[in-house]
């Protein structure tokens, strides 16, 4: 028989309750009985920030708003790197659930970014307070919120695709780590983008964290938001990555349990 069909009523599911429980569980387990608890998550990028501030402030002494730019960029980068790292291995880590229950698997991938998202939330408030000396406009803060939504779309798209690929090829996480390590240095975090010839800027903007970071700086710190065309390009990139991630995930989803 060549037909293949599985028709079942969708699981009667309280998705919000399930997401809340998974997020709460991950948070509790991660910081359970650690000396500093949630502060550990904040300390890692702060320590990196202090080192980079000390070293690169003297390398680029004339760069305008160098410190503020570094604070904002580093926190956005930390979210991108940490959440995609968790997302890649998320299905594998929750394999004990996926092979035994009818849990919707996409929820596992999406909730894997919860801890970095909580950290980003705390840092976003700190970043906005940091620029409070020159208060950002309400429009700037709202635009920043829009960029965070785009960043989440990018992260979820990458995580959905990479999590199913990781089940087939177990070195995908290492490849992704190499990409993010190199990506840190091609994203204009520690250097002003102006130090590179303008003909290379387009290439830098093709790496998703670059437009997010540059547009956030422009909205919150410089008070000069990017153009409408630039925003449309960012939206196309973010939701293109999300769409591609969903397509790849859906293609591999029926065999997820078999690859675990």
């Amino acid at each position: 028989m060549a037909t293949l069909a599985l028709t079942a009523p969708p699981p009667r599911l309280d998705a919000r309750g399930l997401i809340w429980t998974l997020v709460r569980t991950d948070f509790k387990v991660r910081y359970h009985r650690t000396w500093l608890g949630f502060l550990w998550a904040l300390l890692k990028p702060i320590s990196l920030l202090l080192v980079l501030l000390t070293v690169f402030s003297s390398v680029f002494p004339g760069a305008p708003n160098f410190r503020l730019n570094l604070v904002l960029s580093l926190f956005l980068w930390d979210f991108f790197a940490e959440s995609t790292k968790s997302g890649v291995i998320s299905l594998h880590q929750k394999g004990y659930l996926i092979t035994k229950t009818r849990l919707p698997r996409w929820i596992v991938v999406v909730t894997s970014i919860s801890n970095p998202l909580i950290t980003l939330g705390v840092y976003s408030v700190l970043a906005i307070l940091c620029v409070a000396g020159r208060p950002p406009s309400l429009g700037g803060v709202l635009l920043f919120g829009v960029y965070l939504v785009h960043l989440c779309a990018i992260v979820i798209g990458i995580s959905l695709a990479a999590s199913v690929l990781f089940l087939r090829w177990r070195d995908v996480n290492q490849i992704w780590e190499v990409i993010t390590s190199a990506g840190f240095f091609i994203t204009p975090i520690v250097f002003p983008i102006g130090v590179l010839p303008e003909r290379y800027h387009f290439l830098l903007y093709c790496w998703p964290p670059t437009p997010i970071i540059m547009f956030s700086r422009a909205a919150l710190i410089d008070g000069a938001p990017a153009t409408l065309r630039a925003h449309l390009c960012l939206a196309a990139m973010a939701f293109g990555i999300l769409g591609a991630g969903i397509l790849l995930y859906r293609r591999h989803a029926p065999r997820i349990a078999e690859h675990l």
């Binding site: 599985l6 009523p9 009667r12 309280d14 309750g17 399930l18 035994k100 087939r168």
Partner: protein, 246 residues
């Protein structure tokens, strides 16, 4: 009405002779493909489970029972054939799946309850009943890593039975706890049956299939080798697994 129908369900796993689960291995595989073993686990299995009926499935280890349950539960996809499930299914394929040993019983009840399909409000409302059924109210705030295996199993049983929707799919999970707890579980199982729940039960224990199932299937070599009443199939299973005379 049938709660579950399966028609000609086929499932095979391709097992390579050596593992190449890396990007490099996949690229190499284009040029030097590895020989693969094809393991035909299910070969044209058809079954029907009427609403409110209990169907037992028996068979030797490796005959495809668990794979069939996973296909009926929507966890695996069949290679060919058709599966129609018309009711909400609660698969209990392993007790305590998803437990987190670092969390206490209350947190684990909320976690497992929502994973098995309860709403958060239902799971919260059920905490006391679960602890009571498992006789673990005194240890509600104790982390699970400090529980004995018997205590953890009792808790898992209580959550599993509480989360049952219309159809319950059970994979060999009856041998839990002491005689008193087993008797209470069996009593609860009877109540579920009396309430009209449909059950698919995999077991190696002939006694359970005889007592709890209206009908049963014997699977052998990925095919349905026998179908009949619970007692009849249980006898056939015992016959099949009886050691050959020296």
């Amino acid at each position: 009405m049938n709660a579950i129908e399966a028609e000609g369900v086929t499932k095979a796993f391709e097992i390579p002779h050596a593992s190449r689960r890396t990007v490099r291995g996949a690229l190499l595989g284009y040029f030097r493909p590895l020989p693969r073993e094809r393991l035909q686990v299910l070969d044209g299995v058809s079954l029907e489970v009427r609403q409110g009926e209990a169907l037992g499935i028996m068979g030797r280890n490796g005959c495809g029972k668990s794979t069939l349950l996973k296909i009926l539960s929507g966890i695996y996809a069949a290679d060919a054939g058709a599966v129609r499930v018309r009711t909400h299914v609660t698969p209990v394929l392993e007790l305590g799946v998803g437990w987190n040993p670092e969390l206490d019983a209350v947190d684990n009840i909320l976690l497992l309850g929502t994973v098995m399909g309860l709403s958060l409000a239902e799971a919260r409302a059920a905490v006391d009943r679960v602890l009571d059924f498992a006789e673990l109210s005194r240890f509600a705030n104790l982390e699970l890593k400090h529980y004995s295996s018997g205590m953890a199993s009792r808790l898992a049983y209580a959550v599993a039975f509480l989360s049952v929707r219309e159809t319950l799919i059970l994979d060999e999970i009856f041998a839990v706890g002491d005689a008193g707890f087993r008797a209470r579980c069996e009593e609860h199982f009877r109540k579920l049956r009396a309430a009209g729940h449909t059950v698919v039960l995999v077991s190696h224990t002939a006694d359970y299939v005889e007592r709890f199932c209206d009908r049963a299937l014997l699977i052998e070599g990925g095919k349905v080798a026998r179908e009949g009443g619970g007692a009849e199939v249980a006898r056939a299973y015992l016959e099949l697994t009886r050691p050959a005379a020296p």
